[in-house]
Symmetry: C2
Subunit: 388 residues, 2 copies
């Protein structure tokens, strides 16, 4: 297996867009392509993450449409992959293998999604299709509901009062909004306080409005190249050191949803491939679809002992200047969460961090970064470790 | 790149089913797993093709659900890929690379789809989402319409009367139904005549009912293994000799739809990797979503000169005993076409043919076979060559 590097990244401003998914992806991809000092016709394959393009725009078979819009050569396969909210990371991992194996030298990976046009209630119902339709969807499970259960179980399991846990969950949102105002591409550009969170309406008890990431339109893309090609294209290649992907299956098969076993399995694969441990990670973009999700993810990735993730937030350990900065981009909460694109937006941030290009939100001296992307409740997890 | 072999295959009877897509896939996969002399927990990754599981059953994130249903280990990534009607072949090609690269030794690939429950008119409208939604879908393009244009253009381009062409198109359907009655898993189990076709109602002029493949429910799966592992598991490994995938983009970018350039590009990749030419192919399962589609595919794959494919049918060259047997399974027309599964059903047939297990529809002495799967109009083509 040869080494693979990211040579260019691009991302649209997340939020509400008039553009189609193909158009948004093209914007993000052209930015990545230009940054890579290549042209679209140099790309040998496209790996596109997308969750529900058919629902949102009546567009299936989206990857070839993107490839054509970009001017990629006809010989280049264009494949859409879907792993619910992890789709773009599934795409990146797959793209990585096609280059690491030696089959391709330069590929494009990322994702795109539109979700705001349908409105939040319908979007919530629609994206709940990432859970098991026969037994969960049928019974009314949506993701806020699933993570509300996680929050209650977490409080109960670790003997933390729900009031205290909710305060710490709110601190996650406060941190991520604080980071987000330093990110010009973030959907939300305003700071909030713990009171903002605790005074917002209940979505799924104990989750309140500001415990939940938004629905967003957006796209993100990265160009991957073999080490040899990467060194010709850029003087700041960021290498993929390890990848992992694992699958849990439906919620009803999971014994303890305060620990997402697929994450532990995927992270272990990535750490092993990279020859690293959690202590080696300087910065992490993880899947804070809900504030409680960030807390349990930080434990599952090995940054904190199980049950200690919430107090770590309170102690400031996950702030940009903290022990393990988490979601300097603003995370899904403040940056936004276009389902099919999110994994690539996480990659965008980590690559920018490792290149030292993050301005006010720069994690000083970051050399190793990690992305963590979760699909469904809690079926698919992809972890990717990057380094310079 | 090390050699990769198919060690087991499985397929449901195509038609109308009461089972969910996860259940059908599990049936097909268990057959493949059992035939491979392994257990589900030996599988290291799942690559699942599916077109519109969200529309049909409200199920996104289907791959982990299948993996869990089968009892695959949690460490095993489960990824859904989508390339419209080519989805399962996209999955197989991807799976192939993960084994050829050395990353995995045993993987499961295939696809599943339900389409009959929504009824043919809605299914036609829904699967038209494989075309460009902004410019084609918006204007009412559906796949019968797109292939109707192909038929008219073909007749015009090659100076064949539409009447003569329609007769030859009908012969494709007659051949495939004749093959289908020898296939217990085929959706249609009755022979037809040219008159049957020409007397059926017009779907999209000049395509009549029997020029069009049905909508179907069904699933198919194959187990792939490295050569070394394959030889321990079976005494009849069928190797993947070459793969290819290419992308055309939307219909409006295509200059001459009587020749699907993505097919020519994908086939060239496969032939080159295998070190073979069209003359080396003993049997082919290609994408006869419509009778005219079989004719143009036979030319695009290099079996006949452009413009000569329709007379070849008339001469019997594509019958089971002919020069290049095409669609001995009954093809999409008689076997059925569950969108996400079709590519794997083609693989199933080719593997069975090369093992000599096809009974009445056996192509004698077949040693090299090819699958051809098309997604959309005419955006994605995947070609895979198998050999013993």
């Amino acid at each position: 297996m040869r080494r693979v590097a990211v040579v260019g990244v691009g991302m649209t401003k997340f939020g509400s867009s008039d553009k189609s998914q193909v158009e948004m992806f093209s914007d993000a991809a052209m930015e990545a392509i230009n940054e890579s000092n290549i042209r679209a016709k140099d790309i040998q394959a496209l790996f596109l993450g997308n969750g529900l393009g058919d629902f949102e725009e009546g567009q299936m078979n989206m990857a070839p449409m993107c490839a054509a819009e970009l001017g990629m050569p006809m010989d280049a396969p264009a494949t859409r992959v879907e792993g619910a909210c992890a789709s773009a990371s599934v795409a990146i991992r797959d793209a990585f293998m096609w280059v690491a194996s030696g089959f391709y030298d330069i590929v494009l990976a990322g994702g795109t999604e539109r979700a705001t046009a349908m409105g939040t209630p319908l979007a919530t119902r629609t994206f709940a299709m990432g859970s098991d339709s026969k037994y969960e969807g049928f019974n009314g499970i949506t993701f806020p509901g699933a993570f509300a259960m996680v929050a209650r179980l977490y409080a109960n399991k670790y003997g933390i009062s729900l009031e205290k846990l909710k305060e710490r969950m709110a601190m996650v949102a406060v941190k991520n909004h604080k980071n987000g105002v330093k990110n010009p591409l973030a959907q939300f550009q305003k700071e909030i306080t713990v009171e903002t969170v605790l005074n917002s309406f209940i979505v799924a008890d104990p989750l309140q409005l500001f415990d939940c990431c938004p629905f967003s339109d957006g796209a993100a893309a990265i160009v991957l190249a073999s080490e040899e090609v990467a060194k010709r294209l850029t003087d700041k290649p960021v290498y993929i050191l390890g990848v992992g992907q694992a699958s849990n299956g439906p919620l009803y098969r999971q014994k303890d949803i305060t620990r997402i076993r697929a994450r532990e399995a995927a992270a272990a694969q990535a750490y092993k491939m990279a020859g690293l441990t959690p202590a080696d990670i300087d910065v992490c973009e993880l899947h804070d679809c809900f504030t409680i999700a960030e807390i349990v993810a930080s434990e599952g990735l090995g940054f904190f002992a199980f049950g200690k993730g919430s107090e770590a937030v309170e102690k400031g350990e996950t702030a940009i200047g903290g022990r393990i900065p988490i979601n300097p981009s603003g995370g899904l909460k403040a940056k936004g969460h276009p389902i099919g694109a999110t994994g690539a937006a996480q990659a965008y941030e980590i690559v920018k961090q490792l290149r030292g290009e993050c301005g006010d939100r720069q994690v000083k001296g970051a050399r190793v970064g990690m992305t963590d992307t979760l699909g469904g409740d809690f079926a698919t997890v992809v972890n990717i470790i990057y380094g310079i």
